[in-house]
């Protein structure tokens, strides 16, 4: 693949300006509707409240920023037992458990379809892609139906004898919320894992087998290390949106004991009369996720280096 833009010389600058011009509408769009809004979040978080109307009064001048909302959020976040601290720790553990479960489910499925799909591969892939065309909210609705008091989950569990009486699954149970998160996000992990595992060069596995590795050793010493970047990417792809999720707990629980950081943001931004606190929470979440992304980029680079690629 040769480098684009080989026409250097007198024409080079004009050529380059032409391409920049082609990108311009998209770049302007992203600046106005993606970058600018982040500045507005900062100005709202660091602004004040109108004392009478209780609407936010953003402070556009960075020299006059008012840190009251941030101090409130950070204070609340680092005091053990305080509301934001509880919610943040809970969110972290829910995401951790749901991501781990998703990986344990997604990896074997992706591995099977990539390596042993054979002539069924097309059909299996249709099954893996199908959830992308079914709205997330509809998939949650399906579980609301199933988990009702008189729903099929209770009927089956009582019939098999696991439960004595129908259980109320939709009222503040962590297990229901985590099930919903796994069910909702696992397809987003299966597909990138599949795409990656499908590209692994089989001759490497054959070489490992020829050198005396058992099939399991070949998997552990060749396939697994090779797929580390895909595992990391899959974890990031589902963990980031999970940190901002509020609709899954709302639909599958709706109780304060399963409230996540997203629920707090939704509450303060759209319902409450303390929009600056909500905006400050968003900034704190973004900083946390940026640190996470930074670690991801570092870990991926390290994995690539180890593989010599």
């Amino acid at each position: 693949m040769s480098e684009p833009g080989r026409r250097v010389g007198a024409d080079g600058g004009r050529e380059n300006r032409f391409w920049a011009g082609l990108a311009l509408p998209g770049v302007v769009w992203l600046c106005v509707f993606f970058l600018l809004p982040f500045y507005v979040i900062l100005c709202v978080a660091l602004g004040s409240l109108d004392p009478i109307l209780l609407t936010p009064a953003p402070e556009w001048n960075p020299l006059q920023w008012n840190t009251a909302a941030f101090e409130f959020v950070l204070d609340n976040l680092f005091t053990p037992g305080a509301a934001f601290e509880t919610v943040f720790v809970r969110t972290f553990f829910y995401v951790l458990i749901a991501t781990t479960l998703s990986l344990l489910i997604a990896y074997p499925v992706a591995y099977y379809v990539a390596r042993y799909g054979g002539r069924w591969k097309g059909l299996l892939l249709v099954g893996l892609i199908a959830p992308f065309f079914i709205s997330y909210l509809m998939r949650m609705l399906a579980w609301i139906n199933l988990l009702q008091d008189d729903g099929w989950v209770n009927s089956v569990l009582v019939w098999v004898g696991i439960l004595d009486a129908p259980r109320n699954w939709l009222d503040g149970r962590a297990s229901s919320v985590i099930l919903g998160l796994v069910y909702g996000y696992v397809p987003f992990m299966v597909l990138p894992l599949y795409a990656f595992l499908d590209r692994i060069d089989r001759s490497l596995l054959e070489a490992a087998r020829d050198l005396g590795a058992s099939p399991f050793q070949a998997f552990r010493l060749v396939t697994l290390p090779l797929s580390t970047p895909a595992i990391l990417a899959g974890v990031v792809i589902i963990a980031l949106p999970m940190f901002g999720d509020y609709y899954t707990p709302d639909l599958l629980s709706g109780a304060p004991q399963t409230s996540l950081i997203g629920n707090q943001i939704n509450l303060y931004i759209r319902g409450g009369q303390q929009v600056p606190v909500g905006a400050a929470l968003v900034v704190v979440l973004m900083v946390f996720l940026t640190v996470l992304m930074g670690y991801y980029l570092f870990a991926t680079a390290r994995a690539q280096r180890r593989l010599g690629g």
């Binding site: 684009p4 833009g5 080989r6 026409r7 920049a20 011009g21 082609l22 509408p25 998209g26 992203l30 509707f33 993606f34 809004p37 982040f38 507005v40 979040i41 100005c43 936010p56 953003p58 074997p108 099977y112 042993y116 097309g122 299996l124 892939l125 249709v126 099954g127 893996l128 892609i129 992308f132 065309f133 079914i134 709205s135 909210l137 998939r139 949650m140 609705l141 399906a142 609301i144 139906n145 199933l146 009702q148 008091d149 008189d150 729903g151 099929w152 069910y183 987003f188 597909l191 099939p215 980031l240 949106p241 940190f243 901002g244 999720d245 639909l251 997203g262 931004i269 909500g278 968003v282």
Partner: protein, 297 residues
């Protein structure tokens, strides 16, 4: 029992454990949806047990069916309207951005690429808050409702077009355009006559992806909605999911699902058609899955 254990015994030699696991996964991921669709055909009001078969919640019921309850069918219309606007605006905007960013060598190019990729990793609640506040506090001439929602959908879907088209552009390389230029074509002619025809499969594929993620979106549509009449299907499912008294919500979700799949399928056949016409071969589903995997949120 012992036979089952030996059958499962060697998971990696002959992958019987994996066959079972994958089959269970597919059943688990598809069956709840089929059950939800089945309840939409209930004759009675239950959303959790099977009660006969009828079209009551689609067309029959004079008040609560999808056809007769305005909050339900207006949600479907709003979802389709936003998806159509998103595809029509995002695809040309994204293709131009992808071509420009791939060929443009300069200090700005890397930054611009970084910004577009940043939208991919930004959680929707962050983007939703950001857009809501910008429309309320700064760009107040843009009202909440359809316009604001459409802007939101375009903003989060543009990166998918960029990723898909850029992947194809890197595979094509600049030689075809250079040949066209050497033969006397102008820059625009070279793009129109040499590059665009080769990009058509990627353009169609990105159109399908944009349509699907716009139909699926919940947070942006909810944050930027101006009231019941601009609620989309996912927003309606969210606000009625726990309180809905009838299976009409299941019927709405089913109609939306069928429409999404039919439109995506038409797009897929179109994609396969233009791809075959350009002489590309190989497993179509597999390649589409790879596109989809690159394009996931």
């Amino acid at each position: 029992m012992i036979r089952v254990r030996t059958w499962l015994g060697n998971p990696w030699g002959k992958p019987r454990f994996l066959v079972l696991f994958t089959a269970l996964y597919l059943v688990w991921s598809i069956v709840p949806i089929l059950i939800a669709i089945r309840f939409s055909f209930n004759e009675g009001r239950s959303r959790s047990t099977a009660q006969g078969w009828s079209l009551r919640w689609y067309t029959g019921d004079p008040d609560a069916s999808v056809l007769h309850d305005p909050t339900l069918h207006s949600a479907l219309a709003q979802s389709l309207r936003l998806a159509a606007i998103a595809v029509l605006v995002t695809v040309p905007l994204g293709v131009a951005l992808a071509v420009g960013l791939t060929r443009w060598r300069g200090r700005g190019a890397g930054t611009a690429r970084g910004i577009s990729l940043a939208t991919l990793v930004t959680p929707e609640i962050v983007m939703g808050t950001a857009l809501l506040l910008v429309f309320i506090e700064l760009l107040t001439f843009i009202p909440l409702g359809t316009v604001a929602q459409a802007i939101g959908h375009i903003t989060f879907s543009i990166v998918f077009v960029v990723i898909i088209v850029r992947g194809r552009l890197l595979a094509i390389g600049p030689e075809y355009e250079e040949a066209a230029r050497d033969l006397g074509a102008s820059r625009l002619q070279a793009i129109r006559l040499a590059l665009l025809p080769m990009l058509i499969p990627a353009v169609v594929a990105s159109g399908i992806i944009v349509f699907a993620i716009s139909m699926d979106d919940f947070v942006i549509s909810a944050f930027l909605s101006s009231g019941t009449d601009t609620d989309t299907v996912p927003v309606r499912i969210y606000s009625q999911g726990r309180t809905a008294p009838t299976p009409a919500l299941n019927a709405l979700a089913t109609v939306t699902l069928v429409l999404t799949i039919v439109i995506a399928l038409v797009g897929f056949l179109l994609w396969r058609g233009v791809r075959a016409a350009r002489g590309q071969t190989g497993s179509t589903v597999g390649e589409f899955a790879a596109l989809d995997a690159e394009g996931v949120r």
